[in-house]
């Protein structure tokens, strides 16, 4: 069986960045397995700009952003296989994969980096009643049809969900000649980035209806119309608020789900909040030598942060294989509690001995908070108290922990991240 030091599952933004960083960290034997016909993942269909503001200090399109990393992968002579589906990963890191040239084959890895990304939540998961005609698309599927195939999925469009892909598609469909009538959002706030609401809806006069959902889909063959209704604070439609729309298309941008079927198959522990693996400071899962990064770990808003996170995973995986057999369980692991408005943190546990000098904790909040403080407590002592004018579930937040500071608390039991009003 062929062996690699590191096998990376997925050649999207996370996998590419992890590969580049692992290679630069001194590990040579790396293989990326990608199921599509080219590297770059979902970035290839994201032809709008706005990528790379943090990483490259310029505005790139999705394919351009991907190209920066693909070039590095090629320059560094990192091996990759396209058109290759990973069928199974065993807990002892044997990867079973398949493609039409090599057939079914097995590879052994010293370390594995999970970078499979996420998928879109479908209509079925929301239990939207009505007919099941043609013309109902997830926003990402519509994006692929428009941007990759040049096909227009519909002419009169209603969008449910204000996730970023939905907002981007509201603008794209408008530019391609469709009429986008309304974007409805179940929650009382948008699930997307503020800048996307301004640039994709406001600039084109597309209304955003918060606290609304689709309660009926009409049309036996092709969508002929939908009904929106206002919802109460529990998300239940309020009778009497129904409003009928004529349309031939319903786009859904109602959430992304980390794609962890392979992870759970190999025994990786998943978080109920993020649906991604539970990881420590090294972005390592409960299985030693198995790391996770990008949208398979938790759904990101900005690819820049995916690249940054994946670079850390690549660096840590390289260190893992280079120090194989020499690892010692130095220090103890501290759990991070996410409470009072903080839904989760990634990582959710930290070994202070092993953490890098600066450790980024990424998290999301559970509602819209204005003029609140993000606080970090080491046991009872507050070490960080930062005021934020606005925080919303659609925008990922972060705090940074300093190793030097944490080392001053040798008996540390728990780190708590929470929101406070004062």
């Amino acid at each position: 069986m062929k062996t690699y030091d590191i096998i990376i599952i997925g050649g999207g933004p996370a996998g590419l960045s992890a590969a580049v960083c692992a290679k630069k960290s001194g590990t040579d034997s790396i293989l990326i397995l990608e199921r599509d016909k080219e590297l770059g993942g979902i970035l290839n269909q994201c032809i709008h700009n706005g990528f790379g503001l943090h990483t490259f200090k310029e505005e790139l399109t999705g394919p351009e952003y991907a190209e920066r990393f693909i070039e590095q992968v090629k320059e560094l002579r990192i091996e990759y296989k396209l058109h290759t589906m990973v069928m199974d990963i065993s807990s002892d890191k044997v990867v079973t994969a398949m493609n039409s040239t090599d057939g079914l084959f097995e590879l052994k890895a010293g370390a594995i980096i999970l970078a499979m990304g996420c998928r879109e939540r479908s209509r079925g998961a929301l239990n939207i009643p009505g007919y099941r005609p043609a013309g109902i698309f997830s926003a990402g599927t519509a994006q692929r049809l428009v941007n990759m195939e040049g096909c227009l999925p519909g002419r009169k469009v209603v969008i449910l969900g204000s996730g970023d892909i939905g907002l981007i598609m509201a603008r794209r469909m408008t530019l391609e000649g469709a009429q986008v009538q309304v974007v409805a959002e179940l929650m009382p706030y948008s699930g997307g980035l503020k800048r996307n609401i301004v640039q994709c809806l406001d600039d084109y006069g597309i209304p955003l209806k918060l606290s609304h959902t689709v309660v009926d889909i009409r049309g036996k063959e092709r969508v002929e119309g939908i009904t929106l209704a206002q919802v109460d604070e529990k998300g239940r439609p309020i009778p009497g608020t129904e409003e009928a729309y004529e349309c031939d298309t319903l786009l859904l941008s109602v959430g992304l789900i980390p794609e962890n079927e392979l992870s759970s198959g190999m025994g990786v522990e998943l978080s109920r909040v993020t649906s991604g693996p539970v990881v420590n400071e090294s972005l390592e899962t409960n299985i030693e030598g198995v790391f996770a990064c990008g949208n398979v770990l938790h759904v990101h808003d900005l690819v820049d942060f995916v690249s940054e996170e994946a670079a850390a995973a690549g660096r840590n995986a390289a260190r893992y294989v280079q120090t194989a057999g020499m690892r010692q369980a130095a220090g103890c692991t501290v759990e991070i509690r996410a409470v009072d408005g903080v839904r989760y943190t990634v990582p959710s546990r930290i070994n202070v001995e092993r953490m890098e000098d600066i450790q980024t904790l990424r998290f999301r909040v559970g509602g819209v908070y204005k003029n609140c403080f993000v606080s970090v407590y080491l046991d009872e002592e507050r070490i960080l108290h930062r005021k934020r004018p606005v925080m919303a579930p659609g925008e990922m937040e972060e705090v940074k922990l300093k190793r030097e500071e944490l080392l001053q608390y040798p008996d540390l039991q728990t780190i708590t991240v929470k929101l406070e009003e004062v």
């Binding site: 199921r35 058109h83 589906m85 069928m87 398949m98 493609n99 039409s100 040239t101 090599d102 057939g103 079914l104 998928r119 879109e120 479908s122 209509r123 079925g124 998961a125 239990n127 009643p129 009505g130 007919y131 099941r132 005609p133 043609a134 698309f137 997830s138 990402g140 599927t141 692929r144 049809l145 428009v146 990759m148 195939e149 040049g150 096909c151 227009l152 999925p153 519909g154 002419r155 391609e176 000649g177 469709a178 309660v215 009926d216 889909i217 009409r218 036996k220 063959e221 092709r222 439609p237 031939d248």
Partner: protein, 478 residues
């Protein structure tokens, strides 16, 4: 002039077509949809009932038990998925025990084998997720689950292989008695046949009433269902029914042959024979009632919901026979549950009636077996390696949720009565039936359909007719 025209390519029509293809007859099946299995046959509980439900002495009871007995052999001959997993009718109230006993006795009277009442303790051991309230259950070891598409398509393909013709997108608009036989007017022209079989499902009354003064009425009875992800597929290991009682009829919870979990249906009478829309009230009812007999159902794992229409006739009995005053016109109407289970026996019975009328010779070339679409996941590793070496398309995964390869999709399109739409591919291969509900694979399946059928992407439909997936090209209206 055909010898036999069968109206409807659902499971009854196709089972009949296959049985009749044993004889030297010119047979044609007329179907208004673009594919077989587009009505009641595609949206139901996919259960092979044991046969204790139908009234003693009814045709329904007889054909149910016969169909059940035929299922195992037929599934092997025609290569469709069937698993005899058994069923449990759960009683949650000591007061209702007499109803459970009555069900058991009716089953015995109907000739159902393998029936027994299991008590609380044993029931828990059998099904750890059964409701805490359960006091006893009727266990029917002969009950099972089947792939409804697989069975319907298998009947149709085998019939086609034995010479039966199929006309899709052909809607019957009128039927007139001729001197010899019948003239059938459709939106695609006229057809003549000596004998007509009415297997039109929820439209069987419309067809029947074209030839008979004894009017019948079929009421579409809608059932809403929710389908759960495969991660929930092992939540129960048998078909779990509720004992009909003071809480109403309840909904069933069952694994499917593909490893998902299915819950439903509701029962709502409607007037619209194409009204397969789910409703909020219906879905809420399914979710609420499903939890009555099975605890801890992971309702977060619902991946889709759908509705089907049962062809309910007011006497709740299969109406199978030559129509009085309409010689050579044979009804196969009122085929509601347990119609899917009974379909193999319905096919034999209807074919028997036609045989009496036409007295045909046997078809010496009849081949009673058929191979389904090769599923590489069912092969051993070595077999799969050999297949991949020979046919690389089986190494190209198109639907990643269900791991369906290009090889299977191409097979589904190229075989006789092959798929022509996304739904046609889905019913034959499961591509698009998984947890992402075709989000990922639909553009790829569209490409393969376009390539194989010599069409453009713009011509590809979800399910024929006006169900085009894309409506134009970018900026064509600007």
């Amino acid at each position: 002039m055909y010898d036999v025209i069968i109206i409807g390519a659902g499971v009854s029509g196709c089972a009949t077509a296959r049985e009749l293809s044993r004889y030297r007859l010119r047979i044609c099946v007329l179907e208004k949809a673009e594919d077989v299995c587009c009505g009641t046959s595609k949206a139901n509980s996919a259960i092979v009932h044991a046969g204790y439900d139908a009234p003693v002495g009814s045709l329904m009871a007889k054909l149910n038990v016969e169909g059940n007995q035929m299922m195992e052999r037929l599934s092997k001959e025609l290569d469709f998925a069937f698993r005899r997993i058994g069923s449990l009718v759960v009683c949650r109230d000591e007061e209702e025990r007499p109803s459970l006993q009555a069900l058991y006795e009716r089953g015995i009277a109907n000739g159902v084998e393998g029936l027994r009442i299991v008590e609380k303790e044993e029931l828990r051991r059998m099904e750890p997720n059964i409701s805490e309230d359960a006091v006893a259950a009727l266990h029917a070891s002969t009950a099972g689950i089947v792939c409804p598409f697989g069975m319907n398509i298998a009947f149709a393909e085998n019939a086609a292989a034995n010479g039966v013709e199929f006309r899709f997108d052909t809607e019957v608009q009128g039927i007139r008695k001729k001197e010899r036989g019948w003239l059938i007017e459709t939106d695609q022209g006229q057809y003549e046949a000596k004998c007509v079989v009415n297997a039109a499902g929820v439209f069987a009354d419309t067809i029947h009433n074209m030839v008979s003064e004894q009017k019948i009425k079929i009421t579409p009875r809608r059932g809403d269902y929710c389908l759960l992800d495969k991660s929930a597929g092992a939540h129960v290991s048998r078909v779990i029914f509720a004992l009909p009682g003071k809480y109403g009829k309840g909904v069933l919870v069952t694994p499917t042959v593909h490893g998902n979990l299915l819950v439903g249906p509701t029962a709502i009478d409607t007037e619209d024979k194409e009204g397969v829309n789910t409703t909020r009230a219906g879905l809420d009812q399914v979710l609420r009632k499903a939890g009555e007999n099975v605890k801890d159902l992971p309702m977060r794992s619902v991946i889709t919901s759908f509705a089907g229409l049962r062809a309910h006739e007011e006497h709740h009995e299969f109406m199978i026979g030559e129509v009085e005053g309409a010689d050579g016109f044979v009804d196969c109407a009122g085929i509601e549950s347990p119609g899917l289970t009974a379909s193999p026996a319905i096919g034999v019975m209807v074919a028997g009636i036609v045989r009496e009328i036409l007295q045909p010779e046997e078809n010496p070339q009849f081949v009673g077996t058929r191979k389904g679409i090769l599923n590489p996941q069912e092969l051993s590793r070595e077999e799969r390696m050999r297949l991949l070496a020979e046919k690389p398309a089986y190494g190209n995964i198109i639907c990643r949720c269900e791991m369906v390869t290009e090889g299977e999709i191409v097979d589904a399109i190229r075989r006789p009565l092959g798929a022509r739409s996304l739904d046609g591919v889905k019913r034959r291969t499961r591509a698009g039936m998984g947890r992402c509900q075709a989000g990922f694979c639909s553009p790829r399946v569209m490409e393969i359909l376009a390539r194989e059928c010599g069409k453009t992407i713009g011509e590809i439909t979800k399910a024929g007719g006006a169900s085009k997936i894309v409506v134009g090209v970018n900026k064509d209206a600007l």
